[in-house]
């Protein structure tokens, strides 16, 4: 059978299908001053997405609406609005089963409502990408940033990445498809950010050329057969193993769960290559290290500047991926640290728990400061936490309220 590469040919909008490495690493970039939502739109414009399904929930509604504009312009194969987040994620699964590259967005309570579908996506090996613009979950209602939902997502078998800035978001949406569509991975990706701090913030972002796009998804690289909707595989749909309730059915289910998590592990090598490592370190030899993900990294960077003025040197470990979990990298990066400070935008401190499970001498770790329910994290409170750890007296901060 003759096969022909699409690289170098044009799509119907005149964009040239470009080798992803060339597009992401070598193509010229131009700067734009955009909100995070606009950046999501620009990444999707270049991602050769077949199907996008939308459902409004703040703070991702703007991105979902902007992608509707992209559909109107002809950049997306199909676009529609589902009747709830649960329905949307099911519809995404249908489109991905049928061999489409699928994109969707959700946030907070929407993520929770859709939750049943995420382990289903992972088990069915559907490389769907969902943008999660994290916000508060519990009553009383909040639309403000809070990263609690990530702690649920990390148990689903999906890849879970946590972007710090709109630039991360832009690059990782495109790179994310490249990782999750690898035949030895083929898993969904939850690409998370802290809502508002990224989605509604205008920042400078370097974009790849508009006339280049990712190669289309090739469903025949899937490690499981893609679904023929007119003739669905009986084993999966009508006569599943669960109906047998015997040893073989349990063993099959157990081994498949192991395979899903093995695929998460196998994504490591691809992710390291695309993201230049699962973590990023600055001044890693400092006695005091801030270890964080998402917006907490940005706030940490400002705190490090403030502490420099006081002659206190602090290093930074930015965690880019939560699944796969960079446990070995963190253990290595923190091995000489005397104090490890883990600031988080949630009440439970799930990141600190993950880190504690990966490092020796956990009494070095300070799981603070924590802000939640939409509170902001001024760099000054990180500074104060670090000074506390060093035994330096600080003024009580009563900035607001």
């Amino acid at each position: 059978m003759e096969t022909k590469s699409v690289i170098g040919t044009q799509n119907k909008k005149g964009q040239v299908y470009t080798d992803a490495r060339v597009m992401m690493n070598e193509a010229p970039r131009t700067d734009a001053f955009f909100t995070g939502s606009e950046v999501i739109k620009e990444a999707v414009r270049r991602a050769s997405v077949d199907v996008m399904i939308a459902y409004p929930i703040t703070p991702q509604s703007e991105a979902a609406a902007l992608i509707g504009e992209l559909f109107a312009e002809g950049y997306i194969g199909d676009y529609f609005r589902g009747e709830s987040e649960f329905a949307v994620m099911g519809q995404c699964a249908g489109a991905a089963f049928g061999g489409a590259r699928v994109f969707t967005t959700t946030a907070g309570p929407g993520t929770m409502r859709a939750m049943e579908n995420f382990p289903m996506w992972a088990g069915a090996r559907l490389p769907i990408q969902v943008i999660v613009t994290c916000r508060g979950l519990n009553s009383p209602l909040s639309i403000q940033p809070d990263t609690l939902e990530i702690s649920y997502l990390i148990q689903t078998g999906m890849l879970v990445w946590h972007a710090e800035t709109a630039q991360d978001f832009y690059d990782w949406i495109l790179k994310g498809y490249m990782v999750s569509e690898e035949p030895d991975v083929h898993l969904p990706l939850a690409l998370c950010c802290d809502g508002f701090f990224v989605t509604h913030t205008k920042d400078t972002v370097m974009l790849t050329p508009t006339d280049m796009c990712l190669p289309p998804y090739d469903p025949y690289r899937s490690p499981v057969p893609c679904m023929d909707m007119e003739c669905p595989p009986v084993r999966m749909m009508r006569d599943p193993f669960v109906m047998k309730s015997n040893y073989i059915s349990y063993a099959t289910h157990a081994s498949w769960q192991q395979e899903v998590w093995a695929a998460v592990e196998r994504s490591r090598k691809h992710t390291i290559a695309w993201l230049d490592g699962l973590i990023e370190t600055e001044n890693g030899d400092a006695d005091i290290l801030l270890v964080a993900s998402g917006t907490a990294v940005s706030q940490g960077r400002e705190a490090i500047r403030l502490l420099e003025e006081d002659g206190i040197r602090v290093g930074l470990v930015k965690i880019k991926t939560i699944r796969p979990w960079p446990g070995e990298e963190i253990r290595e990066a923190t091995k000489n640290a005397k104090h490890i400070i883990v600031p988080e935008f949630n009440v439970t401190g799930w990141l600190a728990r993950e880190i504690k499970a990966s490092i020796p001498d956990t009494d070095r770790l300070v799981a603070a400061p924590h802000v939640f329910g939409g509170m902001t994290m001024p760099p000054e409170i990180i500074v104060s936490e670090i000074k506390n750890a060093l035994g330096i007296r600080t003024e009580v901060l009563a900035g607001r309220g």
């Binding site: 001053f33 909100t35 939502s37 509604s61 703007e62 609406a65 902007l66 504009e69 639309i143 403000q144 940033p145 508002f196 701090f197 509604h200 913030t201 205008k202 920042d203 400078t204 917006t295 940005s298 706030q299 960077r301 400002e302 509170m375 902001t376 994290m377 001024p378 760099p379 000054e380 900035g399 607001r400 309220g401």
Partner: protein
């Protein structure tokens, strides 16, 4: 005092354009080759509900985002921010830095004696600007009130140039802009106030310029020297 960064907190009410104001100011700063970040903070999108936005402008890369807890400048877009406590903090000026500036859109003084004294102790200068009246006179619509808030802070602190502000409003209003249903309908509302789009851009810029000059004059008269360093 010349600063490496200036932090501006805009406290307004839903529908007044505080979010747009912060974005336009940051867009202008970016055009001036400064570093800038702007973001809003609000609850459900509802008219007259408290809505805040923040604009950070500086000469080095800015990482800080989210609610601005320690601002150099606070702009109050509506008297109710003070009189009815429609603010994310009580009092509205909490966290303001020493030597800061408060700009209030009001025809009459609104500060209690105690608040005025506390601001005075912090060496904070207060400007009352008749923003809504200026908008009505110069642009012919109170919907341009936010332009007076942009102009006044730029005139006082020189955080952005007038040329870049002109370019920024052209970019913001010159083309179709989709943020949310609420923003889209407000955009439509303001467009209906002007016969042509060019008129909207022209009148809004005239409003900015008027308030800018007012800010320059006030800063000179009152020896307010809070400004941000020129781009490197």
């Amino acid at each position: 005092m010349i600063k490496k960064r200036i932090n501006i907190r805009m406290s307004g009410l839903g529908g007044q354009g505080a979010v747009t104001a912060a974005h336009v100011l940051a867009m202008a700063a970016s055009k001036d080759k400064k570093f800038a970040i702007s973001n809003p903070f609000f609850g459900a999108e509802k008219r007259m509900a408290p809505a805040e936005s923040y604009c950070r402008i500086g000469v080095e890369k800015i990482f800080d985002r989210g609610e601005l807890v320690f601002p150099d400048v606070i702009e109050v877009f509506h008297p109710q921010v003070i009189t009815m406590g429609k603010s994310y903090t009580m009092p509205f000026y909490s966290g303001i830095k020493e030597g800061g500036v408060v700009i209030i859109n009001s025809d009459v003084p609104l500060l209690s004696k105690e608040d005025a004294e506390r601001l005075n102790d912090l060496n904070v200068s207060v400007l009352y600007i008749k923003g809504t009246q200026i908008a009505l006179e110069v642009a012919g619509t109170e919907l341009s009130t936010n332009m007076t808030m942009i102009g006044s802070v730029a005139g006082i602190t020189k955080c952005v140039t007038l040329e870049s502000l002109d370019l920024a409003i052209q970019e913001r209003f010159g083309k179709k802009f989709v943020a949310s249903g609420g923003t889209a309908s407000l955009d439509e509302a303001i467009k209906k106030k002007f016969a042509k789009k060019e008129m909207l851009l022209q009148k809004n810029f005239a409003t900015i310029k008027y308030a800018y000059e007012l800010g320059v004059e006030w800063a000179e008269t009152n020896h307010v020297e809070l400004c941000v360093a020129a781009a490197a």
